[in-house]
Symmetry: C2
């Protein structure tokens, strides 16, 4: 059979990894796919560097339009990133009857519905294994490996930068800003790390996973997004004393009322396997009604790990390219006509447990007042930690872990607690998931 011809848009870290792995493992990949897969064209604004990276073996152009409209190209790989040009080019490629592989979570989480609809109408595939958790085949697991299951919840460490920062904060007892600076020096965090540390990147990925887990449209705008920038070293220490680790989790849960979709720092019991995922590694824990819990772990970013996912998509498409569209795996795991309209719940309605830290006067009656307020909102206490005041100090920290309650209850209770005279400053609230 003649080779599948691939056009690559953007040859940065992942693009050059894709080129190199495809070349290095060409023989083995062809033995698997039954057909050779060949990058025939590359579009990059830096034509010079693109030529160097591809050793002059591939046609390089600066205008990506030439790739998405080229009659010889079967599959377009979009590695430009962002929502602007990338969206236009993906839609053009689809309109021209090309299959698309993309690692662009931001694009899919915000414009996925439009893109998948166009692909469906045109009878082409849009594959995106690389968009979530890098080289871990989590999209395939959710969309094909767990098809028997009613998926109940997913909780994932899906941003390596923040997991690296949290691991370092715990390991070395350092505060957020110090570790961020180190992470930037080591190349684990970008010069502008906003998307990572504010949880936006994780929310893009959680949005995609929710969509294929429950068969709902992409609804990034309804995700709750909270990053790790306000996390203090003391919270990590107190959590540890209570037997918990703090991880930035992307969480999505199915409840009778609707879908929870949220990203925030989360306490998890240290004895869970996922609590021990350290450094820049990713891991996704999926709870299905038949299979129970399964965990998927690996590198969530980087040149060749991400290329591994991009190429897996190329092989999948190569296997199915000439088959009838109706035999393919649906983009959102469920048939296009069977998408559910289960609503995404507002954050006030989600149910979870909480970690509360408050700074209080060390005098009788304070704890009675605090616990009375919690009781008034039917919030029961699971564990408590009160520290002795430092030498010569009159104030101390109280840490409370609650049982499950609705977010709106805890918010209301905190408001009352903060109004107490003996409580100074804000109450720190973190969410806690048992993941059992």
């Amino acid at each position: 059979m003649k080779p599948i011809k691939v056009g690559l848009l953007g040859i940065g870290t992942v693009g050059s990894g894709t080129f190199n792995v495809l070349k290095r493992n060409q023989e083995e990949i062809t033995r698997r796919a039954g057909r050779s897969i060949e990058i025939a064209m590359v579009a990059d604004l830096n034509v010079e560097r693109a030529r160097e990276l591809t050793h002059g073996e591939v046609e390089v152009v600066s205008d990506a339009n030439l790739v998405v409209s080229h009659p010889d190209i079967d599959i377009v790989i979009e590695l430009i990133g962002g929502y602007g040009i990338a969206r236009e080019l993906v839609l053009k490629a689809i309109a021209n009857g090309k299959h698309v592989v993309t690692a662009n979570k931001a694009l899919l989480a915000t414009h996925g519905n439009e893109i998948f609809k166009a692909a469906q109408e045109k009878g082409v595939m849009v594959a995106f294994e690389a968009a979530v958790a890098g080289g871990i085949p989590i999209i395939k697991a959710l969309r094909e490996g767990l098809t028997a299951n009613r998926i109940q919840w997913i909780a994932g460490i899906i941003n390596g930068t923040t997991n690296f920062i949290l691991s370092e904060m715990r390991d070395k007892g350092l505060d957020f800003s110090t570790v961020l600076k180190q992470a930037q020096e080591l190349g684990y965090a970008e010069a502008d790390p906003t998307f990572d540390i504010e949880g936006v990147d994780a929310a893009h990925k959680a949005t995609i996973m929710a969509s294929i887990a429950y068969g709902i449209p992409m609804q990034f705008d309804k995700a709750y997004v909270e990053g790790i920038t306000r996390l203090e070293a003391s919270d990590i220490r107190y959590a540890e004393e209570l037997g918990y680790r703090i991880k930035l989790l992307g969480i999505t849960k199915r409840t009778p009322e609707g879908i929870e979709l949220r990203v925030h720092p989360t306490l998890i019991p240290e004895k869970r396997l996922i609590a021990n995922v350290e450094g820049a590694m990713n891991a996704v824990l999926v709870q299905g009604d038949a299979v129970g819990a399964t965990l998927y772990y690996g590198k969530g970013a980087g040149s060749e790990p991400t290329a591994s996912a991009v190429i897996a998509d190329l092989v999948d498409i190569t296997r199915l390219a000439t088959a009838d569209p109706e035999h393919r795996v649906p983009h959102l795991a469920f048939q296009p006509g069977s998408i559910s309209n289960l609503p995404i719940l507002p954050m006030t309605e989600i149910v979870t447990s909480y970690y509360l830290r408050m700074h209080v006067e060390d005098k009788p009656g304070v704890l009675a007042d605090v616990t009375r307020i919690l009781a008034d909102f039917s919030i029961s206490i699971d564990a408590m930690l009160q520290k002795e005041p430092g030498e010569g100090e009159t104030q101390t920290d109280i840490i409370i872990l609650t049982h499950q309650t609705k977010e709106k209850n805890i918010v209301a209770a905190i408001q009352k607690i903060e109004a107490l005279n003996a409580v100074s400053g804000d109450v720190t609230k973190l969410r806690l998931e048992d993941l059992n």
Copy 2:
């Protein structure tokens, strides 16, 4: 579209799980598959119980031949087990043009080559996600998720019974036979546990994984198989003192000389995630050249977890049943014409590190003799532990961890060590893998 009709051979634990999950999640599974999947016939010798389990909703027969030859049946699920009748029925089903789903690792590891050849010729699929690691979609990950990679090695906890026993031995400091009895009482071990505790079950699964990782035929007869029956509580304790856990691992590695394929108790560093997989859980660690290490964790057995894998295969087949055979994923991950003849290495040629425990006279010169012998075979020492003799005793244990060496070197060295006058009894030898 009309429903896909499934015939079930054997309705025990996994069979009834499959029936129940298919029924409970029917709506969701149909939304995914695009077509309803229906168990239309069940064959079981115990017709009465089969009728009860299927609530009289399905035609039950005692003769499985009626199912594999029934013109309405599209897919046959084989859950009988063993190599005899199961092999005959699977081959008959294939000959009759039925697709087959099986959880039977023993059958595939020993007769897989014959079965896949027949399926290939007939243009039907034989799917076997449930044969390895129960509900964990590891076959899909290896065969489709990691297609970009040259797979370098796989190490898996792929037998829940033995992992439960090892976890209990470590946790409670009990010896093997005591824990085995408890495991049998709790239903974690069979009345005849030979296949599990002697490593045969794990070797069947490792054989299957090696085959699809490297594109080699199934060669169970060349696998090295060592169980956990001779493991002593003291070895688990000493390993722990040195920072290691002992797990029964199924290991397969690609080396320039050939493929290693072996099952044995293995020391692994306690800080590895897989070292912390406890109880009856399974986990498979895969090293690919592009993606690095990925880990897959979940329940490796049980009614609904295994049913989850069986049904995933049904959905895959449903999606591809009417498609051209050449667009399907090849049975052994590589195209039938591209199977490799890389040899399986004999055990004497494998390379790994070792844990040695010897019982010696507590007198000068013994350690010098032992280390001299190791040096003569170019085996270098990574760590050592010498215990003080008990009160009034003159003998003590020496534990040595070696760097990597060939198995035949360590065997020869042990022979010389055992011949020393100061060494009493056999030297205990366990293998150690760094898994880094």
